[in-house]
Symmetry: C3
Subunit: 285 residues, 3 copies
């Protein structure tokens, strides 16, 4: 039985690019099962491609082959690689930082160089701008179908040599946790931080108690207030903010049936800092 093949790109689905990638894979093996992670990664946004992979890879069966194509350097000397995660999934991708979060949060068991001149759709030699179709979909399909062994894709590389995007670990300073806002839960406008459930637990805040949340962009404080730590949205009033543990078991901030990111114009990346502490008691004298 062939393994699942999963595509992620920044191509959108309004033109024929993704469909051509499907066709190429089905010419390799018409029985392949092909799926989409998303094709709405913002153009050239390698960080978000990296995050969406770590959000999903572990929920797919061992042996699943991901093809991720956010590739501003297509046609240059940037390497192409195939990585095997510690969970046994494969990722075919340009080596441009797309593996940053998987390496940090899940772990990479092995990585191999993908030789673009050998692993390439025949007849595509004059096309220099669509490696998604000509190299990555073609190679991913051959690995998923069993026609190309991972071990024979190219030479083994030291995972330490992979390109990594700049990222910052969450830290605890006294009673205060500081992390970054890594990504949004797009449709609902929630902020997903890099502060783990374990680290948050060290503050000793029980469900139903209040947390003081501060959000800064570089040196500007964008938000500071206290809110309830809740299991889920509907435990607070409609329109009320909350702190919760998201589906990746990290700290997140939302407004029940509203958009926190929209309400305060909050973005993502390492310049967006979030700090958490137990809310102070307020005493009138």
């Amino acid at each position: 039985m062939s393994r699942a093949l999963v595509y992620q790109t920044d191509f959108g689905i309004a033109d024929g690019a993704v469909s051509a990638m499907y066709g190429v894979a089905l010419k390799v093996d018409p029985e392949l099962n092909i799926f989409d992670l998303t094709h709405d990664i913002p153009q050239y946004n390698i960080w978000e491609a990296s995050y969406r992979l770590v959000q999903t890879v572990q929920y797919w069966p061992e042996g699943t082959v991901f093809v991720s194509v956010v590739d501003p350097g297509v046609g240059t000397a940037r390497r192409s690689v195939v990585a095997k995660t510690t969970g046994g999934q494969y990722v075919v991708t340009p080596d441009n930082g797309t593996l940053t979060h998987i390496k940090k949060m899940l772990g990479i068991a092995e990585v191999r160089l993908l030789d673009e001149s050998k692993n390439r759709l025949s007849g595509s030699e004059l096309s220099y701008t669509f490696h998604g179709r000509d190299v990555y979909a073609y190679t991913g399909a051959r690995i998923a179908s069993g026609q190309q062994a991972f071990e024979a894709v190219g030479e083994s590389l030291d995972p330490a040599t992979l390109v990594e995007l700049h990222h910052v670990d969450a830290v605890k300073n006294g009673d205060v946790l500081e992390g970054t806002i890594d990504v949004l839960d797009i449709r609902f406008g929630s902020l997903w931080s890099n502060i783990s459930h374990e680290l948050f637990s060290s503050l000793g805040i029980d469900y139903g108690k209040r947390v003081e949340v501060s959000i800064r962009n570089d040196t500007r404080e964008v938000y500071r207030n206290t809110m309830v730590y809740a299991h889920s949205f509907a435990e607070v009033s409609m329109g009320e903010p909350l702190v919760y543990i998201n589906s990746l078991l990290c700290v997140a901030v939302a407004i029940n049936q509203g958009s926190f990111a929209g309400a305060y114009n909050i973005g993502t990346g390492t310049s967006w800092k979030i700090t958490l502490r137990k809310a102070p008691r307020i005493v009138y004298e």
Copy 2:
């Protein structure tokens, strides 16, 4: 052979949420055939989720398992259920009104309580906000693959106890039909009413004859004019309005190659009333 599994959510497809739901199902059974109804239900809009189900369920094979996750009450005491339609399709969903239109227009043969503590992805106990992945996709996949019998999902419930959204039946008063605008044909801006083809036929208006259409939002009249009753758009001039019978055999109103909803800022729901009558003769004296 496993049965088709069909997902509907308000999650969008720009992040990894839907893909994680696919992965979970394929871990249950890698041979499952998974499809999408839509993931663009407006956030928290249970009414539209209910309508999109009734628009599609009957066109899928008997035994198809739908998983519909528009779930503003995730994490609260709201029930989860699995319903079997009179056509033999299954719907796994929170009991929050999502089954309103199916119950009214197609009929529910049987409904069972879904015990979230028993029907849950192992290891997901700390995640309180993503039942789409942890409970509904997992359970839907188990039913579709035959690993979980519908009859053993949980206790049988009286369909009369299902949560229903407020809705109003279309009525005939003398020569006038009054109904509501249930939903839009989004891309084309057409209004889909709850007035059935049978009820409309009782007005005795032939194809090519004119209908007087009035649209009100609460007490405000938004539109009143006469238009042709046509088989399809191209029977009228470009830019001309028409009344037609839509693909669910209800009365609809459109502008040929324009957007009726956009032209007059018309919305949907029980506060949006539409009345139809045979157009009067206009006599100059």
Copy 3:
């Protein structure tokens, strides 16, 4: 083994229309493999539907059945047809110009009339507006599953009788190439012209040399400047324009990590002309 079935429409995926088309096909044969080209063709835009087909059809296996439904004339006397390309793929579509680019760029081996009254979902006789579900998806599924032979779909037609959209061939006048801007690479804002790689080669411009590009809309010149002819985007500076050969081996114009179409408000169609010539030497005296 059944052949792949691929859908293209202008319906969007925010409502249940496409999903109903999937269900109808799976009722014909539950083992069918169904895929999407795109459902984001701008409403009624037959030109773009035609282009997206030529962009993808040839990358799919022989025998693949495409169903393309951009059908402003639904319900009128316009013909429905099934075409077989010279590459052996099938296209089920209204005869309204959707086959223009395939006929011109790939070639049509044979075309047959689709009799809508015989090739129709039973019970759909009262529905006049959704041939995508009732006629085209149903017929495409029957062909893909082998239940309906292409040869028995209806009488053979002369491909010369197919409706064709107005289009203009690229030409060479002395040292100047003139073509049209056929379509955009939507997400990246690149202009895709109808000037082939072969024709462009006749200018004798090497990679790394400069091209003078002029763009006119009717009589108004919208853009004129010189830019580098590069293999791919990353060979020029960020924000710099370039001429390149796109994935269909035609001349394209882009801005590296920007949007050329957005920067200069450039559209598509035969009124949008592009001319290319070797850039002049600039001599200061």
